[in-house]
Symmetry: C2
Subunit: 190 residues, 2 copies
Protein backbone atom coordinates (compact mmCIF):
# COMPACT_ATOMS: atom_id res chain seq x y z
CA UNK A 1 0.00 0.00 0.00
CA UNK A 2 1.18 3.47 -0.70
CA UNK A 3 2.34 5.13 2.51
CA UNK A 4 0.49 8.12 3.84
CA UNK A 5 1.45 11.33 2.06
CA UNK A 6 3.18 9.49 -0.75
CA UNK A 7 1.22 11.31 -3.45
CA UNK A 8 1.57 14.54 -1.51
CA UNK A 9 5.35 14.20 -1.47
CA UNK A 10 5.42 13.24 -5.12
CA UNK A 11 3.46 16.41 -5.87
CA UNK A 12 5.98 18.55 -3.99
CA UNK A 13 8.88 16.79 -5.69
CA UNK A 14 7.46 17.32 -9.14
CA UNK A 15 6.28 20.86 -8.48
CA UNK A 16 9.71 21.80 -7.18
CA UNK A 17 11.34 20.30 -10.23
CA UNK A 18 8.98 22.21 -12.51
CA UNK A 19 9.57 25.41 -10.54
CA UNK A 20 13.33 25.04 -10.98
CA UNK A 21 12.97 24.21 -14.66
CA UNK A 22 10.21 26.54 -15.81
CA UNK A 23 9.60 29.15 -13.09
CA UNK A 24 6.46 29.67 -11.02
CA UNK A 25 4.43 31.00 -13.94
CA UNK A 26 5.73 28.31 -16.26
CA UNK A 27 4.02 25.28 -14.74
CA UNK A 28 0.42 24.35 -14.00
CA UNK A 29 -1.59 21.77 -12.08
CA UNK A 30 -2.06 19.99 -15.39
CA UNK A 31 1.71 19.49 -15.73
CA UNK A 32 1.73 17.81 -12.34
CA UNK A 33 -1.46 15.77 -12.63
CA UNK A 34 -0.66 14.34 -16.04
CA UNK A 35 2.85 13.35 -14.96
CA UNK A 36 1.50 11.60 -11.84
CA UNK A 37 -1.44 10.05 -13.71
CA UNK A 38 -4.08 11.61 -11.52
CA UNK A 39 -6.71 14.28 -12.18
CA UNK A 40 -6.04 17.95 -11.54
CA UNK A 41 -8.58 17.90 -8.70
CA UNK A 42 -6.36 15.43 -6.87
CA UNK A 43 -3.65 18.08 -6.68
CA UNK A 44 -6.21 20.55 -5.35
CA UNK A 45 -7.17 17.99 -2.71
CA UNK A 46 -3.63 18.04 -1.28
CA UNK A 47 -2.91 21.70 -2.05
CA UNK A 48 -6.13 23.69 -2.42
CA UNK A 49 -4.27 26.60 -4.03
CA UNK A 50 -1.05 27.00 -5.98
CA UNK A 51 0.10 29.40 -3.27
CA UNK A 52 -0.06 26.64 -0.65
CA UNK A 53 1.88 24.33 -2.93
CA UNK A 54 4.50 26.99 -3.49
CA UNK A 55 4.83 27.69 0.22
CA UNK A 56 5.20 23.95 0.91
CA UNK A 57 8.07 23.74 -1.57
CA UNK A 58 9.99 26.57 0.07
CA UNK A 59 9.31 25.39 3.62
CA UNK A 60 10.56 21.91 2.81
CA UNK A 61 13.69 23.36 1.21
CA UNK A 62 14.33 25.51 4.28
CA UNK A 63 14.00 22.45 6.51
CA UNK A 64 16.36 20.51 4.26
CA UNK A 65 18.92 23.30 4.42
CA UNK A 66 18.65 23.51 8.21
CA UNK A 67 19.11 19.76 8.45
CA UNK A 68 22.12 20.08 6.14
CA UNK A 69 23.73 22.74 8.34
CA UNK A 70 23.14 20.69 11.48
CA UNK A 71 24.36 17.38 10.05
CA UNK A 72 27.00 15.70 12.30
CA UNK A 73 29.40 15.50 9.35
CA UNK A 74 29.47 19.32 9.24
CA UNK A 75 30.90 19.55 12.75
CA UNK A 76 34.15 17.87 11.80
CA UNK A 77 34.70 19.97 8.67
CA UNK A 78 37.18 22.80 8.30
CA UNK A 79 36.06 26.17 6.94
CA UNK A 80 37.28 25.54 3.42
CA UNK A 81 35.55 22.17 3.33
CA UNK A 82 32.32 23.75 4.49
CA UNK A 83 32.50 26.31 1.71
CA UNK A 84 33.17 23.47 -0.72
CA UNK A 85 30.09 21.68 0.53
CA UNK A 86 28.03 24.85 0.19
CA UNK A 87 29.13 25.31 -3.41
CA UNK A 88 28.22 21.66 -3.89
CA UNK A 89 24.58 22.49 -3.19
CA UNK A 90 24.53 24.61 -6.34
CA UNK A 91 26.28 21.96 -8.36
CA UNK A 92 23.65 19.47 -7.20
CA UNK A 93 20.82 21.66 -8.46
CA UNK A 94 22.35 21.57 -11.94
CA UNK A 95 22.52 17.79 -11.94
CA UNK A 96 18.94 17.75 -13.14
CA UNK A 97 18.62 19.02 -16.67
CA UNK A 98 17.74 22.67 -16.88
CA UNK A 99 17.41 23.31 -13.16
CA UNK A 100 18.59 26.40 -11.35
CA UNK A 101 18.87 26.80 -7.61
CA UNK A 102 15.63 27.50 -5.76
CA UNK A 103 16.87 30.90 -4.59
CA UNK A 104 17.33 32.28 -8.11
CA UNK A 105 14.02 30.84 -9.22
CA UNK A 106 12.15 32.54 -6.38
CA UNK A 107 13.98 35.82 -6.78
CA UNK A 108 13.26 35.90 -10.47
CA UNK A 109 9.54 35.33 -10.05
CA UNK A 110 9.39 37.43 -6.90
CA UNK A 111 7.17 40.21 -8.30
CA UNK A 112 4.53 37.77 -9.47
CA UNK A 113 4.64 35.57 -6.38
CA UNK A 114 1.72 35.53 -3.90
CA UNK A 115 2.52 37.38 -0.67
CA UNK A 116 2.94 34.28 1.48
CA UNK A 117 5.48 32.89 -0.97
CA UNK A 118 7.33 36.19 -1.01
CA UNK A 119 7.72 36.03 2.75
CA UNK A 120 8.99 32.46 2.66
CA UNK A 121 11.32 33.29 -0.22
CA UNK A 122 12.85 36.17 1.73
CA UNK A 123 13.38 33.88 4.72
CA UNK A 124 14.93 31.23 2.48
CA UNK A 125 17.50 33.66 1.06
CA UNK A 126 18.16 35.04 4.54
CA UNK A 127 18.92 31.50 5.82
CA UNK A 128 21.59 31.11 3.16
CA UNK A 129 23.11 34.55 3.71
CA UNK A 130 23.22 34.20 7.49
CA UNK A 131 24.92 30.83 7.30
CA UNK A 132 27.46 32.06 4.74
CA UNK A 133 28.20 35.25 6.67
CA UNK A 134 28.89 33.25 9.82
CA UNK A 135 31.15 30.84 7.94
CA UNK A 136 33.15 33.68 6.38
CA UNK A 137 33.40 35.63 9.64
CA UNK A 138 34.61 32.69 11.68
CA UNK A 139 36.78 31.43 8.84
CA UNK A 140 38.58 34.76 8.59
CA UNK A 141 39.03 34.99 12.36
CA UNK A 142 40.50 31.49 12.34
CA UNK A 143 42.85 32.45 9.52
CA UNK A 144 41.29 30.16 6.90
CA UNK A 145 39.92 32.92 4.67
CA UNK A 146 41.23 36.30 3.68
CA UNK A 147 39.08 39.12 2.32
CA UNK A 148 38.55 42.83 2.84
CA UNK A 149 35.24 44.40 3.77
CA UNK A 150 32.57 42.93 6.01
CA UNK A 151 31.66 39.22 6.10
CA UNK A 152 28.13 40.21 5.11
CA UNK A 153 29.35 42.02 2.00
CA UNK A 154 31.45 39.00 1.11
CA UNK A 155 28.54 36.63 1.74
CA UNK A 156 26.34 38.63 -0.63
CA UNK A 157 29.11 38.52 -3.21
CA UNK A 158 29.63 34.77 -2.96
CA UNK A 159 25.92 33.94 -3.07
CA UNK A 160 25.38 36.34 -5.97
CA UNK A 161 28.17 34.68 -7.95
CA UNK A 162 26.82 31.19 -7.24
CA UNK A 163 23.26 32.09 -8.16
CA UNK A 164 24.31 34.10 -11.19
CA UNK A 165 26.55 31.33 -12.49
CA UNK A 166 23.88 28.68 -11.99
CA UNK A 167 21.56 30.87 -14.08
CA UNK A 168 24.10 31.63 -16.77
CA UNK A 169 24.72 27.95 -17.37
CA UNK A 170 21.39 27.73 -19.19
CA UNK A 171 22.32 30.06 -22.00
CA UNK A 172 25.97 29.06 -22.12
CA UNK A 173 27.78 26.02 -20.76
CA UNK A 174 27.58 23.87 -17.63
CA UNK A 175 31.26 24.31 -16.87
CA UNK A 176 30.67 28.01 -16.21
CA UNK A 177 29.47 27.20 -12.70
CA UNK A 178 32.74 25.42 -11.97
CA UNK A 179 34.64 28.40 -13.34
CA UNK A 180 32.79 30.69 -10.96
CA UNK A 181 33.35 28.36 -8.00
CA UNK A 182 37.09 28.30 -8.74
CA UNK A 183 37.11 32.11 -8.79
CA UNK A 184 35.15 32.31 -5.51
CA UNK A 185 37.62 30.06 -3.74
CA UNK A 186 40.52 32.00 -5.22
CA UNK A 187 39.05 35.30 -4.01
CA UNK A 188 38.99 33.98 -0.44
CA UNK A 189 42.54 32.60 -0.41
CA UNK A 190 45.14 34.03 1.92
Amino acid sequence: MTPINDTKNQIIDLAESLLLQRGYNGFSYTHISSALNVKNAAIHYHFPTKTELGVAIIQRARQQFEKWTLHPRMGSMGFAKKLDAFCGIFRDFLKFEGHVCLGSALEHDFNTLPEKMQEEAKAFIADFLIWLEKLLKEGREAGSFSFSGTPKEQAVFVLAALQGASLMVRATDTIYLDMAIRRIKQSLKK
Copy 2:
Protein backbone atom coordinates in the same frame (compact mmCIF):
# COMPACT_ATOMS: atom_id res chain seq x y z
CA MET B 1 0.86 63.44 -35.54
CA THR B 2 2.17 60.29 -34.05
CA PRO B 3 5.44 59.46 -35.73
CA ILE B 4 5.75 56.21 -37.65
CA ASN B 5 6.44 53.23 -35.39
CA ASP B 6 5.58 55.18 -32.26
CA THR B 7 3.10 52.56 -31.04
CA LYS B 8 5.45 49.82 -32.13
CA ASN B 9 8.25 51.28 -30.04
CA GLN B 10 5.92 51.82 -27.11
CA ILE B 11 4.96 48.16 -27.31
CA ILE B 12 8.60 47.06 -27.20
CA ASP B 13 9.31 49.45 -24.32
CA LEU B 14 6.41 48.16 -22.29
CA ALA B 15 6.96 44.53 -23.16
CA GLU B 16 10.61 44.80 -22.17
CA SER B 17 9.65 46.41 -18.89
CA LEU B 18 7.13 43.65 -18.20
CA LEU B 19 9.67 41.00 -19.16
CA LEU B 20 12.19 42.44 -16.68
CA GLN B 21 9.54 42.75 -13.98
CA ARG B 22 7.50 39.60 -14.40
CA GLY B 23 9.37 37.23 -16.71
CA TYR B 24 8.34 35.98 -20.15
CA ASN B 25 5.51 33.82 -18.79
CA GLY B 26 4.35 36.54 -16.43
CA PHE B 27 2.98 39.03 -18.95
CA SER B 28 0.38 38.88 -21.69
CA TYR B 29 -0.81 40.91 -24.65
CA THR B 30 -3.61 42.14 -22.39
CA HIS B 31 -1.08 43.71 -20.01
CA ILE B 32 0.38 45.66 -22.92
CA SER B 33 -2.82 46.59 -24.71
CA SER B 34 -4.62 47.86 -21.62
CA ALA B 35 -1.61 49.94 -20.58
CA LEU B 36 -1.39 51.51 -24.02
CA ASN B 37 -5.17 51.92 -24.33
CA VAL B 38 -5.43 49.88 -27.49
CA LYS B 39 -7.01 46.50 -28.21
CA ASN B 40 -5.03 43.27 -28.05
CA ALA B 41 -5.35 42.85 -31.81
CA ALA B 42 -3.37 46.05 -32.25
CA ILE B 43 -0.40 44.36 -30.59
CA HIS B 44 -0.83 41.38 -32.89
CA TYR B 45 -0.82 43.79 -35.83
CA HIS B 46 2.70 44.94 -34.96
CA PHE B 47 3.93 41.61 -33.57
CA PRO B 48 1.87 38.70 -34.94
CA THR B 49 3.23 36.34 -32.28
CA LYS B 50 4.67 36.74 -28.82
CA THR B 51 7.83 35.09 -30.12
CA GLU B 52 8.37 37.90 -32.60
CA LEU B 53 7.83 40.46 -29.86
CA GLY B 54 10.33 38.68 -27.64
CA VAL B 55 12.91 38.49 -30.41
CA ALA B 56 12.43 42.21 -31.12
CA ILE B 57 13.15 43.04 -27.47
CA ILE B 58 16.41 41.10 -27.45
CA GLN B 59 17.55 42.35 -30.84
CA ARG B 60 17.01 45.96 -29.80
CA ALA B 61 18.91 45.36 -26.56
CA ARG B 62 21.80 43.83 -28.48
CA GLN B 63 21.90 46.86 -30.79
CA GLN B 64 21.83 49.20 -27.79
CA PHE B 65 24.72 47.33 -26.19
CA GLU B 66 26.72 47.43 -29.40
CA LYS B 67 26.08 51.16 -29.68
CA TRP B 68 27.18 51.54 -26.07
CA THR B 69 30.45 49.71 -26.67
CA LEU B 70 31.17 51.80 -29.78
CA HIS B 71 30.27 55.16 -28.23
CA PRO B 72 33.05 57.77 -28.69
CA ARG B 73 33.15 58.39 -24.93
CA MET B 74 34.29 54.77 -24.45
CA GLY B 75 37.45 55.35 -26.47
CA SER B 76 38.88 57.84 -24.00
CA MET B 77 38.14 55.71 -20.95
CA GLY B 78 40.68 53.74 -18.97
CA PHE B 79 40.11 50.07 -18.18
CA ALA B 80 38.82 50.68 -14.65
CA LYS B 81 36.41 53.35 -15.90
CA LYS B 82 35.10 50.98 -18.55
CA LEU B 83 34.44 48.33 -15.92
CA ASP B 84 32.69 50.99 -13.86
CA ALA B 85 30.50 51.86 -16.80
CA PHE B 86 29.71 48.20 -17.40
CA CYS B 87 28.62 47.75 -13.79
CA GLY B 88 26.54 50.89 -14.25
CA ILE B 89 24.42 49.06 -16.84
CA PHE B 90 23.23 46.72 -14.10
CA ARG B 91 22.60 49.57 -11.71
CA ASP B 92 20.50 51.26 -14.41
CA PHE B 93 18.30 48.20 -14.77
CA LEU B 94 17.45 48.40 -11.08
CA LYS B 95 16.42 52.04 -11.35
CA PHE B 96 13.01 50.87 -12.41
CA GLU B 97 11.11 49.20 -9.61
CA GLY B 98 11.42 45.46 -9.61
CA HIS B 99 13.52 45.12 -12.75
CA VAL B 100 16.40 42.74 -13.24
CA CYS B 101 18.87 42.80 -16.09
CA LEU B 102 17.67 41.34 -19.38
CA GLY B 103 20.30 38.62 -19.28
CA SER B 104 19.06 37.10 -16.02
CA ALA B 105 15.47 37.34 -17.16
CA LEU B 106 16.19 35.46 -20.37
CA GLU B 107 18.36 32.87 -18.67
CA HIS B 108 15.71 32.18 -16.08
CA ASP B 109 12.94 31.67 -18.60
CA PHE B 110 15.28 29.94 -21.05
CA ASN B 111 13.63 26.50 -20.90
CA THR B 112 10.18 27.89 -21.69
CA LEU B 113 11.37 30.32 -24.38
CA PRO B 114 10.57 29.70 -28.06
CA GLU B 115 13.58 28.52 -30.03
CA LYS B 116 14.19 31.80 -31.86
CA MET B 117 14.30 33.64 -28.55
CA GLN B 118 16.70 31.08 -27.13
CA GLU B 119 19.09 31.71 -30.00
CA GLU B 120 18.92 35.48 -29.54
CA ALA B 121 19.31 35.11 -25.78
CA LYS B 122 22.45 33.02 -26.21
CA ALA B 123 23.88 35.64 -28.56
CA PHE B 124 22.98 38.42 -26.11
CA ILE B 125 24.86 36.75 -23.25
CA ALA B 126 27.76 35.98 -25.57
CA ASP B 127 28.00 39.68 -26.53
CA PHE B 128 28.41 40.62 -22.87
CA LEU B 129 30.92 37.88 -22.11
CA ILE B 130 33.06 38.60 -25.16
CA TRP B 131 33.23 42.31 -24.38
CA LEU B 132 34.07 41.64 -20.72
CA GLU B 133 36.69 39.04 -21.55
CA LYS B 134 38.42 41.47 -23.92
CA LEU B 135 38.33 44.23 -21.31
CA LEU B 136 39.82 42.00 -18.63
CA LYS B 137 42.46 40.55 -20.93
CA GLU B 138 43.67 43.92 -22.20
CA GLY B 139 43.33 45.47 -18.76
CA ARG B 140 45.55 42.85 -17.21
CA GLU B 141 48.12 43.14 -20.00
CA ALA B 142 48.18 46.91 -19.47
CA GLY B 143 48.63 46.42 -15.74
CA SER B 144 45.25 47.87 -14.74
CA PHE B 145 43.76 44.62 -13.44
CA SER B 146 45.21 41.71 -11.54
CA PHE B 147 43.66 38.26 -11.40
CA SER B 148 44.68 34.66 -11.75
CA GLY B 149 43.18 32.23 -14.26
CA THR B 150 41.97 33.03 -17.74
CA PRO B 151 40.21 36.28 -18.72
CA LYS B 152 37.27 34.16 -19.82
CA GLU B 153 36.96 32.52 -16.41
CA GLN B 154 37.14 35.93 -14.78
CA ALA B 155 34.57 37.36 -17.20
CA VAL B 156 32.14 34.55 -16.34
CA PHE B 157 32.74 35.25 -12.66
CA VAL B 158 32.14 38.99 -12.93
CA LEU B 159 29.01 38.63 -15.05
CA ALA B 160 27.66 35.91 -12.75
CA ALA B 161 28.15 38.14 -9.72
CA LEU B 162 26.46 41.11 -11.42
CA GLN B 163 23.50 39.07 -12.62
CA GLY B 164 23.19 37.19 -9.35
CA ALA B 165 23.30 40.36 -7.29
CA SER B 166 20.74 42.12 -9.47
CA LEU B 167 18.45 39.14 -8.89
CA MET B 168 19.08 38.94 -5.17
CA VAL B 169 18.08 42.55 -4.67
CA ARG B 170 14.44 41.56 -5.14
CA ALA B 171 14.23 39.36 -2.08
CA THR B 172 16.66 41.41 0.01
CA ASP B 173 17.88 44.97 -0.36
CA THR B 174 18.89 47.25 -3.25
CA ILE B 175 22.26 48.03 -1.71
CA TYR B 176 23.30 44.41 -2.22
CA LEU B 177 24.15 45.16 -5.84
CA ASP B 178 26.51 47.91 -4.73
CA MET B 179 28.07 45.53 -2.24
CA ALA B 180 28.73 43.02 -5.01
CA ILE B 181 30.13 45.69 -7.33
CA ARG B 182 32.55 46.82 -4.60
CA ARG B 183 33.70 43.23 -4.17
CA ILE B 184 34.13 42.74 -7.92
CA LYS B 185 36.36 45.81 -8.19
CA GLN B 186 38.30 44.70 -5.12
CA SER B 187 38.87 41.26 -6.61
CA LEU B 188 40.47 42.84 -9.70
CA LYS B 189 42.78 45.24 -7.81
CA LYS B 190 46.51 44.88 -8.08
